[in-house]
Structures are given as structure tokens and as C-alpha cells.
Amino acid sequence: MGDSLLQIKNLRAWYQPDRAVLTDLSIKLREHEAVGLIGLNGAGKTTLLKTLSGIHEGFLADGVWMQGSPVKFRDRDFKKFRYTVFAEDHSFPYFTFREYLSYVFSAYGRKAQDAGPFIQGFHFEEYVDALMKDLSTGNRKKVFLITAFALKPELLLLDEPADGLDFQSTEYLYRQIAGYKEYGTVLFSSHILESITLTSDRVMVLEDGQIGKIFEDGSINAENIREALRYENDI
């Protein structure tokens, strides 16, 4: 784990201006780390990831820095720096997986890499030439996960990556998230404690639109996180 990769100061995001989902949220992601984001439904996990992806329009921040330089979420350079896998994604239904992979690599200005190991790891061999509209929910999710791991962006954003995956693929996903530090930083949201405890270097608890608590290294265990969620939400 090294220097700051992405820093955001006082991020405020909303769907209706008078009802902010994120309020003065500040976050600092380091290079080469796996960060888990946990929180109850409606805590703002997806909103945060969509804002970082440049998809969400209603937001303001005092500052956003990528490797120390100011940046905007919709800048071309920032787009090339990150890739997002959304919880549900029905885009490009008339591409096959191979075509989508080629399209994404071309968009990022990179030469296509061999995605074979990820295809095998996610047991996706049978579906690489099927149109994405014909894939099941879980297989469609695999398209975007395989693309993300093959692309290896410096910042990988995953929203509920384990949703819809079978047992084997979930295990493989956990290994990929934990091993991603070799290539960059991964920030992922999850409801599943196990996915967080098995993979993360740091865990951020999102509550009331802010990062309430951060767990690191030895303090990352299910009991601590469960307790924090209970305490933060008065349960």
C-alpha cells in the first residue's frame, strides 16, 4: 500500500436537492489496496460508486484529486483510469462477450489482452459468443467482471459484485478482488460480510451519507463490522 490514488473532499450527492444521500463525505483511497464499502440499504453505496463513475449528475465536492492532481469525474483521463461494474447492467445487449471486450479495450486505447484465465475461472467458456441479451443475470454479470479484471484499470469500482453469481464464481471473485492489489486499487460495495472480511485491506462503513467508521488489517472481522452497523444504526 502506497501513496494516495484518489482523494475526495466533502462530497455531497443528491437525487432531490433538499434530500442529500451523501453529505460531506471525504474518502482517500491508496494505491494498491482492496477497500470494502459496507452499509445498510439506502446508505448511499451505489450513489457513491455512480458519482465516481461520472454517471450521477447531482453532486458537489470541495475537491477531487487523482494521484495528487485535481480531476473531474467526467474527464477523459479519469475515465481511462477507472472501470465500473454496476450491480445491474443491461447495456450493449447486441454485442457478444468477445465483441464487448474488444470494444472496451478499444475505448481505453489498449491492445486486447487474453481474458482466457478469467473466462475459465468464472466458468464462462460456453457463453463467449452468445449475444449479451440472451445471457442470464449471473452470466451477464460475469461479462462485466471478466472485462474488468482483464482490463486491469488503476481504479476498479465494483457495486455488489457477488450478486447473482454461483458459489464457485463467488469464490473465484473473492480471490480476484484480494489479488487485485498487484495491479491497482479496488473499491467495492457489498452486503455480504464474508466478501468484505475475506478480501479487504480496509473496510469503510457508510452511514448517514458519510464514512462512519474505518476498519483496517487486524480489526477487520465480522463481529466488529456487525457491531459497528448495529451501533451506527441504533439496532
Binding site: 463513475s53 461520472g54 454517471i55 477523459r76 475515465k79 481511462k80 465500473t84 454496476f86 447492467d89 443491461h90 447495456s91 450493449f92 445487449p93 447486441y94 454485442f95 457478444t96 468477445r98 465483441e99 464487448y100 474488444s102 470494444y103 472496451v104 478499444s106 475505448a107 481505453y108 486505447g109 457463453y127 459468443d129 452468445a130 449475444l131 441479451k133 440472451d134 445471457l135 442470464s136
Partner: protein, 380 residues
């Protein structure tokens, strides 16, 4: 029935029925605008009935087929329900939306530009209600498609054959009652638009191509293909109509009319997931928008080529300048359509019909029409 009606009426009109008030307000503006312009034409009653019936049936069919209802339907059909109450609640919810929001606009326009007796106004309203019930009945019994087609054909024939509005009104009421009887015997599950069987078609290409993507997209939607085919059909017929004007000034008007290819021009609005993905990835103005623009240009150009060929057969005076003008109109309309999609995509729509009949659809053709008027002055 009341509960089911309310569920779908709220979905279509908004929780406080705000979209209904907005639609009625727009209808009044359209009526007032056209009426006060003093523009009047003669429309024979059977044309009015035909227009109202086919338009309402088309919109109702689109509304019934909307994928957006699938989630609501799945949950409602899981709960215990009374079959007839469900069917009539559902059909009336969608029917009221179709008649008041969609057909209402058409009626506002035709009532403003032509004179009608109160009997003809009532009969046109009956036609709209009948079209709703009949379309729902044919949709529910779509396993017997042949019978539905014959029934629709017979009713259309009656519009032409029965010249007396009183007799036709009686036939329409009878037909609507028959449709209600068929509906009462229908299976509620027939309205549930199940996901198609996932027959996985293999494609062997390893490299991406946005062009290939767009052709697949067009080929996978029969109604989009039909719309494109209708535009090409119109391209054949327009020179015959314009021929009566005996002026080359009408030539650019055809180019403007042929730029209204709605489904092709609203690709991103139609598919919010695609829009999100395109905005997520870097370099998409070049990688996606340029091929998309060229694709719309190609569709427009094919229509214009057909139009010019037909014009040549009718009048025989197509010049190189006319060909360039066609290309220019096609290109402009493609560029403007894509710019609108990129900067002002339509969001928050309820059914695809909202998209197809959104006022923004007419922005590009209206601009083209203005240009056609200017170009026509030079040609005339």
C-alpha cells in the same frame, strides 16, 4: 378491478394523476393553436374514424407490449386475484391512458382543423374506446392470430362500407361489446409479457463493430423495421402526392418528411443502460456517436434515394443538385438527431409510446421543414 385500475393508472399518469392534467393542457394548447390559426381542411368522417381507430389500436398494442409492465404483472399475478376484475382493471388502466393522453392529442388536432357534427365527435370517441377493447381482446387471444386479423379486417371494411354515422356507431358499439365478451373469457396470464426463450445465437466475430451492433439492434425489433419500411414506402408515394403541386419546390419537403424515423433516432433514449455504458466508457463521442450518426445517415439516405427514384419516374427531372440536396438533408438530420440524443436524451418515460410520440421527435423534422421551405423558394 378498482385496485388494479388504480395501480396501472398511477403508473401511467403519476401518483397524483399529474401527467393527465399535463396531457389535457397540451391538448387544449394544440386545439387552440390550430383553431386560431384559421387553417381548415375537409376530412370525410370515415377518414376520421379510420385514423382514430388505427392510431388508438397501434398505441394500445405498444402499451400492452411494453416491457416496463412485466415486473408489476409478475408480482400481481403471483397474488391471488379475480380473473375478470384483473383483466378489466388492467385494460381500462392502459386504455384510459391511451385514449386521453395519446388519442386525445390526435382528436384535438382534427377537431381544430375540420368541422364536425356532435354525432361525428361521439362516434370518433366510440371508435377510440372500441379500438382499445378490440386490441386488448386480440392481444389476449393472440394464439388465434388468424381470427384476430380477420376480425380487424372486417371492422376496417365496415368503416369504408357504412357511410351512415348512426349505423356505423351502432356497429362500433356492438363490436366493442363483442370485444368485452372476448376479454371476459380471456386468460389474465396472456397479458404477462414473459421473457423470450433465450435461444442463444452464436456469433463468431472477435472484434467489435458498432455498425454490426446497430444492424442487429434494428433487425431484432420488428416494429423498428416496420417503421423503417413504412418510411421507405412513404418515399415511393410522396412524389405522387407532390406531383399535384407541379413544382420542384416540393422536392425538399419530401427530404424533410423522410427524416422522421423515430426508433432509429432515439437509440440512447430507448435504452438507458446503453446510455449509461456509453457515458461510462472513455472516447465514446468518436467511438459510438460517429458510427451511430453514419447509421442514421444511411437509413435516411436509403429513404431519400427511393424518393428520388420515384420522383424521377413521376416527373423525370432529378438533377445532380437534387441528389446533393438529399444527401445534405440526410446528413443534417442524422447529425442533429445524434446531438439531441447525446445532449438531451429522453428520460423518465413510462412506455415506448411516450418516446415515439414525444414532442422532441418533431424538433429535427420541423427544422428540416423550415429549411425545405427556404430551399423550395429557390427551386420554385
Amino acid at each position: 378491478m378498482k385496485t388494479i385500475f388504480k395501480i396501472f393508472a398511477n403508473k401511467m399518469f403519476g401518483v397524483r394523476y399529474e401527467r393527465l392534467a399535463k396531457a389535457i393542457f397540451i391538448d387544449l394548447i394544440v386545439f387552440w393553436g390550430l383553431y386560431s390559426s384559421g387553417f381548415r381542411i375537409q376530412i370525410r368522417p370515415f377518414i376520421l374514424y379510420l385514423m382514430v381507430s388505427t392510431f388508438t389500436a397501434g398505441v394500445m398494442r405498444q402499451t400492452l407490449s411494453a416491457e416496463a409492465h412485466a415486473d408489476d404483472m409478475m408480482n400481481l399475478l403471483m397474488l391471488p386475484f379475480e380473473r375478470k376484475a384483473f383483466i378489466f382493471g388492467y385494460v381500462s388502466g392502459l386504455g384510459v391512458y391511451t385514449v386521453l393522453v395519446r388519442t386525445g392529442m390526435l382528436l384535438a388536432a382534427v377537431y381544430a382543423i375540420a368541422s364536425w357534427s356532435s354525432l361525428e365527435i361521439i362516434c370518433s370517441g366510440l371508435c377510440a374506446c372500441n379500438a382499445v377493447l378490440m386490441t386488448a381482446a386480440v392481444y389476449a387471444w393472440r394464439k388465434r392470430q388468424g381470427a384476430g386479423t380477420i376480425w380487424a379486417g372486417a371492422f376496417t371494411a365496415s368503416i369504408f362500407l357504412l357511410q351512415d354515422t348512426r349505423i356505423f356507431s351502432a356497429v362500433t358499439v356492438g363490436n366493442a361489446l363483442a370485444a368485452a365478451v372476448f376479454l371476459s373469457g380471456a386468460d389474465a396470464y396472456s397479458f404477462y409479457r414473459k421473457e423470450g426463450r433465450r435461444k442463444q445465437v452464436r456469433r463468431v466475430s472477435r472484434r467489435h463493430s458498432v455498425w454490426r451492433y446497430l444492424f442487429r439492434y434494428l433487425a431484432s425489433h420488428k416494429n423498428y423495421l416496420a417503421n423503417t419500411a413504412v418510411m421507405w414506402g412513404a418515399a415511393c408515394v410522396l412524389p405522387v402526392m407532390f406531383g399535384q403541386m407541379e413544382s420542384r419546390a416540393a422536392l425538399p419537403v419530401g427530404f424533410a418528411v423522410l427524416s422522421i424515423n423515430t426508433p432509429v433516432c432515439i437509440l440512447l433514449s430507448c435504452d438507458p443502460a446503453l446510455e449509461q455504458a456509453v457515458r461510462l466508457l472513455p472516447g465514446q463521442k468518436k467511438a459510438f456517436c460517429i458510427p451511430y450518426c453514419l447509421f442514421v445517415f444511411l437509413c435516411n439516405t436509403i429513404a431519400d434515394v427511393i424518393y428520388l427514384m420515384s420522383w424521377e419516374l413521376q416527373a423525370g427531372d432529378v438533377t445532380a443538385a437534387a441528389v446533393w440536396m438529399g444527401a445534405f438533408f440526410s446528413f443534417q438530420s442524422a447529425v442533429m438527431s445524434v446531438l439531441l440524443e447525446w445532449f438531451f436524451p429522453l428520460r423518465g418515460w413510462k412506455t415506448q409510446s411516450d418516446l415515439w410520440h414525444h414532442p422532441r421527435k418533431y424538433a429535427v423534422p420541423v427544422l428540416m421543414m423550415l429549411e425545405a421551405g427556404i430551399a423550395g423558394r429557390f427551386l420554385g
